[in-house]
Symmetry: C2
Subunit: 229 residues, 2 copies
Amino acid sequence: MQGDDYLHHIAYDSVIFGFSGEKLKILILEYHNTGLFALPGGFVRTNENLNDAVQRGLKERTGLDQIFLEQFYTFGDVARYKPEVMKQIIQANKVPDEDLSWLLDRFISVAYYALINYAEVIPTPDDLSDSCGWYDVDQLPPLMLDHAQIVQKALETLRENINRKLVGGNLLPARFTMKELQHVYEAILGEKLHRGTFQRKMLSLGVLQRHEKQYSGAANKAPFLYSFG
Amino acid sequence: MQGDDYLHHIAYDSVIFGFSGEKLKILILEYHNTGLFALPGGFVRTNENLNDAVQRGLKERTGLDQIFLEQFYTFGDVARYKPEVMKQIIQANKVPDEDLSWLLDRFISVAYYALINYAEVIPTPDDLSDSCGWYDVDQLPPLMLDHAQIVQKALETLRENINRKLVGGNLLPARFTMKELQHVYEAILGEKLHRGTFQRKMLSLGVLQRHEKQYSGAANKAPFLYSFG
DNA sequence: TTATTATTGTCGCAAAATGCGACAATAATA
DNA sequence: TATTATTGTCGCATTTTGCGACAATAATAA
């Protein structure tokens, strides 16, 4: 990780949403020996597209390719410049032979959110962090720098886009029941929805494919499975 | 404009919308002796918030303060890195005693759009450009780099936000008629709206203040004037 | 003074979208 | 065969929207 390989002053942070146990979750990593929690982030190589850099980071952290990924804001306040925090992280991970001084400069961070199928992810820490795990959006640990603010804005954007971009399905397996889809919407919006109205609305969009029923073994009517497209 | 005063690799571009003659317009500047047209942009000082840098640039270019300003996307493709274009601009404006080599590096650009009252603006070129003027959004000159794409995305964002953020009023004087407001909406959306429906919708929002009538001298009923808040 | 004309504010009504409860169908168990 | 929980769908009231029409009005023309 030489200084010349990356664009200085520019970073990205990603808010990776998953869905499990009827809860919306976010992937958070913890840096070695610092007690610092952070969003997965990274830097842009000098010959690499910004969007590609984020895709690359996501691949490394989740093992997934072809992810729903969207940029939502670029954070550029001076107040987010805290070199002592970065110094702390570097010192806890001192690797000789590397000039990491460029990491102590001021950074502007382009923030993205990703929607992924929780079940397919293998959370993988990087060199600097020793854990990479899921947290409920409403039970996050204290995050470093302005990362809590970034999460907040990601959630707002997600709520605004939930109908415009059919965002919901990206958080589920390829096939799902209407109830599961409704739970995703409820978790994102933070409110209960009416079952009948929700089903009618979804079906009227004409983007759901209906498949065979899912026999759960429970003593009641079995629901259909659906997929997008 | 020393290299140490600004954050390297980071720029901003602004799409400044105005409204006149029932048309949506954008402020475009032309660089000296190059035939290059561009969006007004600039750089971020090392101790300056990103948002403040854009406000500062807007103030210099329009004379206006307290503008409706919103960030909408950050452009970071490698393809937008064309040092020969920058070199052309610099050479046409050679100022001695300055090291401008940092301008030839790759830049990531944070794009903003602004909505302003056309009548209050005094378009002002900067040192590098010899004109700064209004162009119809559908009759723009060929813009350098990816600036046409930036304009396109600004328009899309504006359309998406038109109802969510009461964007329309920022393009008009403090007091305006319902018809003028409708023309703004039509220019942004690119379609005709029904007069009755539009008026009913706007009034139902409860954010318009009704004032005295505007007697235009025409042989017909005089419209009320409105303001926001 | 009175008719004419263009434009405005508002209304009525049909069509579409939404909120909410209810019913029959169904997959298992008792 | 009855029971139970859940599902798919429908009916109906309410709200929102699209669209035309009417009366009111400010000036001009007769």
